[in-house]
Symmetry: C2
Subunit: 190 residues, 2 copies
DNA sequence: ATCTTTCTTGAGTGATCGTTCAAGTATATA
DNA sequence: TATATACTTGAACGATCACTCAAGAAAGAT
């Protein structure tokens, strides 16, 4: 019966994710979004409800993309291969809106304000840590790394190192590729 | 001749540093500052010029405090002792406004907007890295750690790990003390 | 071709942002 | 005690914030 939207919703969420990822929550205004999505306020609010609702969608897409990328790496290179490749990959991706992780950026920006989006970011980080944990477990069961170590501890440390790496990569004058290589190499000593 | 201010400027900067550290740049409004400093706008602008100027002062005090704390640790425990103690100390300080480092928070929040405060944050981080470098050099010259490794690489990695640790410590449900212990322990293997 | 339903437009909402400034107040010096 | 010199006050500024809504435009169904 009626008129259909003349936009691709998923593509709009992609563009929002890139904007929010780069500029952060407070750093992205509705004017910015209107310009990037080419939508007037009325359409925007009809489609997404609010800035925060769209941010949540963008964060979910970000987390899902990351999860799938790591799954793909695992299929190609196995669990330890994937864990070794990831640091250099995130740091070397020059097309990305930012080097730093969108989830840690969101957490750090909004945690002190008790903003629910910070909790969502933390939940996504938790799921990501669980994915790392599963890869360490697999690597232990195949004998790729020593089974004596606590895989949860390895996953926890790996994620923390990755967060630090990606923020370091945001800085000018820091050789992030060298740090990425060291993180990968440290997996050889397990 | 004239009236003198009825406030302690350094104490005001301390309070501003705590607010900015916790809430971030965009997350701290002038109303917040007026409430915390108990100053009306006129006094505030007469004293500090602008929100950004005060943020810069706050960041300088933050960096200076951190530098002095590490110097104190070094006097007590020597270079390697200080580097080993620092991770647990930053994570265990429950009085601090936030676990995450104010400099990395500022960098991450303002880098994409080309805000000069992000460059200032990066400069402070660079100085901090140089302080770590000096400690690694000292530890090598006294034989506390192997002299074969590049101390600049060690300092770079140590700082990156510390940044990741401190953001992880901001998260709910993460055992940051365990990560801190692992970072310290890894210095034993150098 | 008409109707119905939805999408699109864009001016406008009140709130809050960082900041200014004229008027009033307090104090060290003469 | 009088005067000069800050400091303090708080209303008000224009800009921007996220958001609303009434009116017009478009397209599938009949």
């Amino acid at each position: 019966m009626p008129r259909r939207p003349n936009y691709d919703r998923e593509e709009l969420i992609d563009r929002s994710r890139d904007l929010f990822w780069k500029r952060g929550w407070a750093g992205t205004s509705l004017k910015d979004l209107e310009a990037s999505l080419q939508m007037k306020p009325g359409s925007f609010y009809a489609a997404f409800g609010s800035k925060d609702a769209l941010f949540e969608l963008a964060m979910e897409k970000y987390a899902e993309d990351g999860r799938r990328r790591l799954e793909g790496l695992t299929e190609e290179q196995g669990p330890i291969g994937a864990l070794k490749s990831l640091p250099a990959m995130v740091v070397g991706n020059d097309d990305a809106p930012a080097k730093a992780c969108m989830l840690s950026k969101t957490l750090v920006e909004l945690h002190a304000h008790n903003n629910p989006l910070a909790d969502k970011a933390n939940e996504h980080l938790k799921k990501m840590e669980e994915q790392f944990l599963e890869l360490f477990r697999q690597a232990q069961s195949t004998g790729e790394i020593d089974a004596g170590q606590d895989p949860a501890a390895l996953a926890r440390r790996y994620q923390s190192d990755l967060i630090g790496l990606r923020i370091s990569a945001e800085r000018d004058g820091v050789d992030a590729k060298a740090i990425a290589k060291e993180i990968a190499d440290s997996l050889n000593r397990l």
